[in-house]
Symmetry: D2
Subunit: 343 residues, 4 copies
């Protein structure tokens, strides 16, 4: 019963198989290979637009490279206060942007609101050299709290950001989970709603290590390729990253895997709903469930074999825990967890 | 007949199989898994010393992270003028070190000599704040020219560097090829000879994307882990990088693969030796062969299906070409190349 | 009636005179001159300890260089949310530290409290590579709100910081104003209370452009000199910066100038105290007075010739303004301001 | 007899007087003052074009900020191998550009030639992400060897650079000395010949610490102002830097001072010409004289009170020395030096 993280699970068999297939023969290195070209084409089909897509091997690299391409050293990136880029990447965006600032904004259920964004923007004066200049809005979809921005929410935030001259980045480490939830097209969920650049994650959802940075306006890609190389993220046998992405995009594997994970999170939430003393903290819209529950119960669950993180230190005999389901979480683990919790 | 680069070839079957095995079940992320721990232990056995080993997915990352750990922003890294870190990494060392300088020294057959190192060191004044301060000597083994430093050569250079207070890094993107040549123990070839940090390459020699940065003095590792994270190189499913390394180190697979590559380079060199107008430029000691030959012959070889790089633009109807053999180069490709060249 | 900033005023005559004296003859460049040596000795006397002092020409440079010397790229600097380093330096600390994070903590009247510091520290996990690691506490003395930390307050914060392994920096852009207020020795106010490094400001208090970065533990100075050079802040004719500092430190000129400024702020505060609708927002302990007052009154004051900043946009017909007095503010300007405000 | 450097001397009386005048009253800070505006206008007149000029306090800052504005992190700056930016600034350009490369090219008498520039450019492949991309050519005028590029030489180099898409920077730490030599207009010597950005030095030629970065195409200034702020080089009382520049530009003070320095260098060269065993190494065209002479003579000169640098370590009983004359060098020092040398 491992609910620690979606990255605790290994990889989808289709993706492993793709690596085997890609291992034979010779290919152009550094992304000049056929698989890499096909992935970009496939993404263009899926997103229904001309785009530039660049593969990297970690979400931190995807985010930091995307942000550095959009944000000058004297710029600021606005994001939710608990965003991964702000609190879980050890300052990678600051390193890649050469010293830009991340401005954390308190959100609601992990989501920014136009009002909070507007208040923050009002603190900055355009052209005032003493202040970092807001350059990018970064939204996380699905969010760190397992919620999903609606299309209208994204569009409103992106519109406001653009009215202030900002570019809009989406951290889609769990983009598939959001898409599985929203039931709209990838195009609608991104560039049509005002997203300029997407960190399209695959690792958490079944790849070994593969993400794509997608620029919906190819002109925005600018010097991305140099930044990728200079940071050691242009790997020589790129075919092996691209092969993962290709398998991931084939026959809707990415959406199927996300549906599996989301479905289990729903089951889990439904299962614990109504258990005395257990509170579901945020709407369960993707593959994460946050619970507040008696610390004794949390401990009992752990003793019973369940693994999960305390999201914050226990307080007043209550624990706040995060449960993550994945593309490979066995349904019986969820059932077992619910059973244990119900005792 | 692809002699463009060792990274034109895919991956060793044993390494692909290891990925399949590693794909099942759950594991701790970010390097907390068992495979990662085993790799470090295995390397400690192979190198016969206590060490710290960190996996990354590209040689550029390995080199740049190693150098940044050893060299302050105001420092200088001394290396052969044609070293990969100096001319093929788009300034990655400068980025990771936050602006240190790479000082290229003209070598002989790709190797530095104590005399050239001493002359360069004499240009710098210790404690003089106007100059970058030499902090690291970086040696490439095997070299960009396909030659291999002897044990005595390494020891002499390392001794001189240390007398001046420098640390010594070895870029071992082709370390296996060097070891296959030298016939000495990995310990003798590295820390016993004065090497502090080794970029231990596996990618060029049969991995999909896996390198280890090895600190022979664990204290030198310093803030390496933070640098790796901050640069996006701490991948979440680290088990998949480590699994490659584990397979690579099992049953001497790394040395066997390198012997295959080196052997073919020898065959190739022997095969073209004596062909009128064809000159072998450097001793063939690893898996690269540099030839000067009539441009007409180079073109004929290409027409016959051989692929290779011009190492410099043709001059006076002569071409300078590089041929690289790999862990997976078919012996018949070498035979065919020699046959074509001999016509 | 210029109350915009202390840096709106020019320079003290004694300091200008010192430049004239220093202009003749030859001297060693880059800080090898006699005046520079004397300044360090004089500071050692004033602070009653062995120290290293380095002159620079801007407060931003002083702060950013001090922080970069103490904080690694993966570190975090904790400071009050409105600290100059956090909001008025366009990310200079991030640039000089190569991407460290500034963590703003909401203070009370511009001051941090041990409780707020402790809460913030609890969010960080030592050795957890995903998070920036708190490395420095930066206190501003006097604060951005014109208040002054008491000796006990500094000592308590410094003690807590050190218990967590942090170094303690003091941004003393207005250190003289704080000392004029506190009536304790510079030693008591700094290193004896746990301050490791002080940005000792002179510019706001009568110099043309001169600050000293003072390391009370010479060993902490580390590579400061290289950082100063590499950032273009080691000026060739350093004698001219040092001459300013020497004059500033002679015959207590620095304290006299600060007493002038502080005294006028007191007069101003006393003068407006009790005027209907005018609220003094923070204790006036140095040379700044923050008022909330009817926007109509603020406009009337401006029409009458007073210049000052709105500290935040007017709201509900109320303005929040900042008034700064300086070493050279004419007492009659304060009297005139009070007279206008009282109408 | 101080011939160590032009920065060993203090400051011109007119410049010191300007500081006194500027010290009274209030002014807008951070360059919003009248003097700063006048300096830009005056430079526009002198250079006969619309321009943007930004004051800083060191030549290293001027150069590094100019280069960082023109060169991306993945770019390369081409310069003479002994250029100040390459060997005397401790990697400041690398820091400000966030890791760009400086490519040193061996020159003749301190000057680059179109042939050497072309050879270097041929080593780089446009758009090849593995290599830093040449972005800026930096010329030093007058050169480190005391020679002066002719108008034709500058124009030829700039033309070649621009044909390859590079911008052209001039390090004019001793620009006045070059202008005093050339007898052409500042416009002809710079933008009309293809210079995009000039580091216009004043410090070495009589200021206390003042340089201007001049963009002849205002559009190229880009984010210079943010870079200046972020690096701590936007000083609050900017009027004091600008006042130095204003005095420097008034009544041709800058040219008069340079003529003094150049004239003495000529006298010195003429005086030592023909002394047995003394060789003048480069044409004396500005304010520096390089001599090769018996080490015994060098020692005798030092014993007689002359101060100067050994440019390289003595070899075969011969010393290579540099003598610099300045705006304030007493003519009798030159006479005395020649007398001593002639003994």
């Amino acid at each position: 019963m491992n609910f620690l993280s979606d990255n605790a699970y290994g990889a989808l068999p289709e993706i492993v198989a793709a690596l085997s297939s890609a291992a034979a023969g010779t290919a152009s290195s550094y992304g000049g290979d056929d698989i890499t070209a096909r992935v970009e084409s496939r993404l263009a089909e899926i997103f229904e637009t001309k785009l530039r897509a660049f593969a990297v091997i970690s979400g931190t690299a995807a985010n930091a490279l995307a942000l550095a391409t959009l944000c000058p050293p004297h710029g600021a990136v606005l994001c939710e206060a608990q965003a991964h880029i702000a609190v879980d990447e050890c300052g990678a965006p600051e390193f890649f942007t050469h010293g830009a600032k991340l401005i954390g904004i308190e959100g609601h259920h992990g989501k920014l609101t136009p009002a909070s964004l507007e208040t923050t923007l009002a603190r900055f004066h355009q052209g005032f050299v003493h202040q970092a200049q807001p350059a990018v809005l970064s939204l996380t979809q699905s969010t760190e709290m397992g919620t999903v921005y609606s299309l209208a929410e994204i569009a409103a935030l992106a519109k406001l950001a653009k009215a202030h001259g900002l570019k809009v980045h989406m951290d889609g480490a769990r983009f598939a989970n959001a898409m599985a939830r929203l039931g709209i097209s990838p195009a609608e969920a991104t560039w049509k709603a005002g997203i300029d650049v997407l960190s399209f994650g695959a690792t958490k959802n079944g790849a070994l290590g593969a993400e794509a940075v997608i620029f919906f306006d190819p002109a925005l890609a600018g010097d991305f390729e140099y930044r990728r190389k200079k940071s050691g993220h242009l790997i020589s046998k790129m075919r092996f990253v691209s092969a993962q992405l290709e398998a991931y995009l084939t026959d809707d594997l990415w959406l199927k895997a996300a549906r599996h994970a989301n479905g289990l999170a729903q089951h889990l939430a439904e299962g614990v709903q109504g258990i005395a003393g257990v509170e579901i903290l945020y709407p369960v819209e993707a593959n994460e469930v946050f619970l507040r529950l008696p610390t004794t119960l949390a401990e009992a669950l752990r003793s019973g074999g369940a693994r999960f993180y305390d999201w914050s230190p226990p307080e007043n005999a209550k624990s706040t825990i995060r449960l993550v389901t994945s593309f490979a979480t066995p349904p019986e683990d969820v059932a077992r967890f619910v059973e244990l919790a119900s005792k």
